[in-house]
């Protein structure tokens, strides 16, 4: 193991020091007196739960936010990083979790943007420079390719090339593996080690402990905006890190309700659509949670949207409790007993500028208790229902008359769950149901999903988090390029599932 680590440069003076950094947002302290040292030739992992303040801290270092208090030293001298431009000038670069690339531009255009050299572009020279750089560090990508034609892994390489082109010494990577397949992640790690050996300091933000233990030289743990400890992989274990992150021993498994799996409730056959769904087929039974595991962007979103009726499949059938619902409008599918937790609750779940009670009735506004045949809304009944749901699901708010935008992410998700489950569905489609939530909210959402089994409902759980798939599923299928590539028991090893996540065809070639 030790040869895989950085050369232990305890002696080298730190490149960058952040001292007593505090960052306040309205009503929230995101970073509370955080100090951090980055040394040349190390991979420094910054770990913590969602909302622990990892990204905020690094955005301060990258000049995207000003710190409320504290200072930043570069090579021993205090500097003020007022913008990303200044950060780049100081040799600090960042690759964001959500890539910031200009889709209709080429790789080269994206890389040189903001650092084009002359006023009139010299594309040939620039392409050559980008190609050389890609060659040197192993981030292979065609310089003249358009971003919109690249895979997610290639886009990430472009992001890293952007930083390297500017000659950064400190490279911050925010959750870089979230979008990668295991093999792509492995390639990334190889290249990162090359950069480290070249003397660069790499900040690796993550909440995936296995990865952190594999790549990091040093680990700093954040919790609720504060540093709760610093350690090295040699001195840490997964369980210990998890406890540091969460502040208490973590529940990796919740108790499964003891129910008998029943009849098929959802049967999907040969679903095709828009190049993203390539003949998907599976079934979900009553009192069963089917977990769909896969790297993001392999058709999960399209699958969920096709099932709820937001997309019309080009071919294939969807049957709900024996009834063919293929191609039905959303309203009819909902009325037939399908509930939907969208992967993006701001985009498809809530109307942020409308009140909680108005959100609570969305999708049910034409149901008998809430409005009459003549089109009148029965507002008293709607508000009564909203109050009941807010109480039942412990949505923390001062009133049901405030806008949904005033809720925290966890409470927004509780509101969506409450609304969807209140319709007594036969089937729940839960797409990335805990994305962006803190631990407490995750546990709440998980329990609610598990409870559906007791109600005799089927659940289709689509998640990019293997932990979540493991914690909830009775059966697991993997999705790859719009196809189901494998079916697994809930106790299958992650390596086995990983094979499916890479696609069966790829595996055949590899072996």
């Amino acid at each position: 193991m030790s040869d895989e680590r950085g050369a232990g440069r305890e002696s080298a003076p730190p490149l960058v020091v952040m001292e007593h950094v505090t960052k306040r947002f309205p009503g929230v302290v995101a970073n509370d007196d955080v100090s951090l040292e980055l040394r040349p030739g190390e991979v420094h992992a910054l770990i913590g739960e969602n909302g622990a303040g990892k990204s905020t801290l690094m955005r301060i270092l990258y000049g995207m936010y000003p710190a409320s208090e504290g200072r930043i030293l570069l090579g021993g001298e205090e500097i003020s990083i007022s913008s990303p431009r200044v950060a780049l000038q100081h040799g600090i670069g960042m690759v964001h979790q959500h890539f910031v690339l200009v889709d209709p531009f080429t790789v080269t255009e994206n890389v040189i943007l903001g650092d084009e050299g002359s006023a009139i572009l010299d594309m040939e020279t620039a392409q050559q420079k980008v190609a050389d750089l890609a060659q040197t560090y192993g981030f292979q990508v065609r310089p003249s390719a358009l971003i919109e034609d690249l895979s997610v892994g290639e886009e990430q390489r472009v992001e890293i090339l952007k930083a390297l082109y500017r000659g950064v010494e400190v490279l911050i990577l925010d959750e870089p593996t979230a979008v990668l397949t295991p093999s792509e992640a492995k390639d990334l790690f190889t290249n990162l080690r090359r950069l480290r050996d070249d003397g660069k300091a790499i900040v690796f933000i993550s909440h995936k402990l296995d990865e952190v233990l594999a790549i990091a030289d040093r680990i700093t743990v954040l919790r609720r905006g504060k540093v709760v400890g610093e350690t090295t992989p040699a001195d840490a274990s997964k369980a210990k890190l998890a406890e540091m992150m969460v502040g208490r021993p973590v529940l990796f498994r919740l108790e499964q309700p003891d129910v008998e799996i029943g009849e098929p409730i959802l049967e999907v056959e040969g679903l095709l659509g828009e190049g993203k769904l390539n003949g998907i087929g599976f079934e979900v039974r009553t009192r069963e949670i089917l977990g769909v595991a896969g790297v993001e962007g392999n058709g999960q979103k399209e699958l969920a949207e096709a099932l709820i009726g937001l997309r019309k499949p080009a071919a294939g059938t969807v049957r709900l409790a024996g009834t063919d619902i293929t191609g039905w409008p959303v309203a009819d599918i909902r009325n037939a007993g399908v509930a939907y937790i969208p992967e993006d609750r701001h985009e498809q779940g809530l109307v942020l500028n409308m009140t909680l009670w108005e959100n609570a009735v969305l999708g049910r506004e034409d149901d008998p208790p809430f409005s009459g045949k003549t089109g009148f809304l029965f507002i008293d009944r709607i508000k009564e229902m909203a109050r009941r749901l807010v109480k039942l699901f412990d949505v923390r708010t001062r009133s049901i008359n405030v806008a949904a935008s005033t809720l925290s992410g966890g409470n927004q998700q509780k509101l969506v769950l409450a609304r969807e489950l209140d319709t007594s569905p036969k089937l729940l489609i839960a797409s990335q149901p805990t994305r962006g939530l803190d631990v407490g909210a995750i546990e709440f959402v998980w329990r609610q999903i598990l409870d559906q089994k007791k109600e005799g409902r089927g659940v289709l759980l689509i998640s990019a988090e293997l932990d979540e798939i493991y914690a909830l599923s009775d059966r697991i299928v993997t999705i790859y390029e719009g196809r189901i590539t494998g079916e697994y028991a809930p106790d299958a090893r992650p390596e086995e599932i990983g094979v499916g996540m890479l696609g069966a065809a790829d595996t055949a070639e590899a072996s």
């Binding site: 913008s83 431009r85 950060a87 780049l88 000038q89 964001h96 531009f105 994206n110 943007l113 084009e116």
Partner: protein, 326 residues
């Protein structure tokens, strides 16, 4: 309609092309930087009144005017462009600095322009709705070679305003600036993904300001061309919605200056039809009011038919939250 008429029709189309292309390019710069500008019509209106005033001031005969001749007319046109840019800065402040919805601000621009034009007209000409007809203008050109084409087609290339040629060759510097320079790369990136632009240390707001000011200058120039070079005086309402038709041409061109050249000419031709069809045999049976509808109907049909096939700058119309910060 004989061939002589076709030549004349094309010449009229060239005039409309100039108006639509200049204004459309203005919209292109603004929208490529991420700021939707449906205020083009209003910016043109300001250009018409101030351009006519500028021409009167700089090229008009003494004692009121300076009598600067052709140079004075050019100064007048530039004055129209300047006033267009100044008025566009209102749109820039609202959308870039205060993040007002782009459509809302554009609509307000159009509303205010009508009143502002009257006010300016009162200031410049001491009458609210028009200036004296027959103002100074540039000498007309015949294009050597082309104007000698037989069968009357040469007609199309005779007696043209120099501004028409200016507009037509503008495609080269604009394409170069947009696709071959640092500034163009940055401007386009701001309209596609301002977060990417900003994260590389390029300030978005100044780029968008430049885009909007250019749109004002070009729409103002287009308006000034209309009042100074085409109609030869300012009249209220003379823009006739051409700013909106330019917007439609811009959409159909997929925000590309080269394709806009074609779109502007086609729409210009549609504009010329009502003026030339009066004496065409069959169509003259239609009530003239129906012929006047043709340009608008053509625009609606074109937009409805092609809108699904174009792709606007991804971030256009979005109030970019970071724009004020850097």
């Amino acid at each position: 309609m004989d061939l002589t008429d076709i030549g004349a029709s094309i010449r009229i189309a060239f005039t409309y092309f100039t108006i639509l292309y200049l204004t459309g390019l203005g919209g292109l710069f603004s929208e490529r930087s991420g700021i939707v500008n449906i205020g083009l019509e209003g910016l043109m209106v300001i250009g018409t009144v101030s351009g006519a005033a500028g021409a009167a001031i700089f090229a008009g005969p003494a004692p009121e005017g300076m009598g600067l001749g052709a140079g004075g007319v050019v100064l007048g046109l530039l004055f129209g462009a300047l006033c267009g840019a100044l008025f566009a800065s209102v749109h820039a402040v609202a959308t870039i600095n205060f993040r007002v919805d782009h459509i809302v601000s554009g609509v307000v621009i159009n509303l205010v322009a009508i009143g502002l034009a009257r006010f300016l007209s009162f200031v410049f000409f001491e009458q609210a709705t028009q200036s004296d007809p027959g103002g100074p203008h540039l000498a007309r050109l015949d294009i050597p070679g082309l104007s000698d084409i037989p069968w009357g087609l040469g007609n199309a290339f005779q007696n043209l305003s120099p501004v028409v040629l200016f507009a037509a060759v503008l495609v080269f510097p604009v394409s170069f600036a947009l696709y071959r320079t640092r500034w163009g790369l940055r401007l386009r990136s701001a309209g596609e993904n301002p977060e990417a632009t900003r994260s590389l240390g390029v300030a978005v707001a100044p780029l968008q300001w430049q885009g909007v000011l250019l749109s004002g200058a070009l729409a103002g120039l287009s308006g000034a061309f209309l009042s100074v070079e085409v109609v030869l005086n300012w009249r209220e309402g003379q823009t006739l919605g051409l700013g909106f038709i330019a917007l439609a041409a811009l959409i159909l061109s997929n925000w590309d200056p080269r394709r806009l050249l074609v779109a502007a000419f086609l729409f210009g031709f549609a504009q010329a039809i009502p003026l030339r069809l009066d004496d065409a045999p069959l169509i003259s049976l239609l009530p003239p009011q129906f012929i006047n509808m043709i340009p608008y109907v053509v625009t609606i049909v074109a937009i409805a038919g092609f809108v699904a096939k174009v792709r606007p700058p991804a971030a256009a119309g979005r109030a970019y939250e970071g724009a004020g910060g850097t």
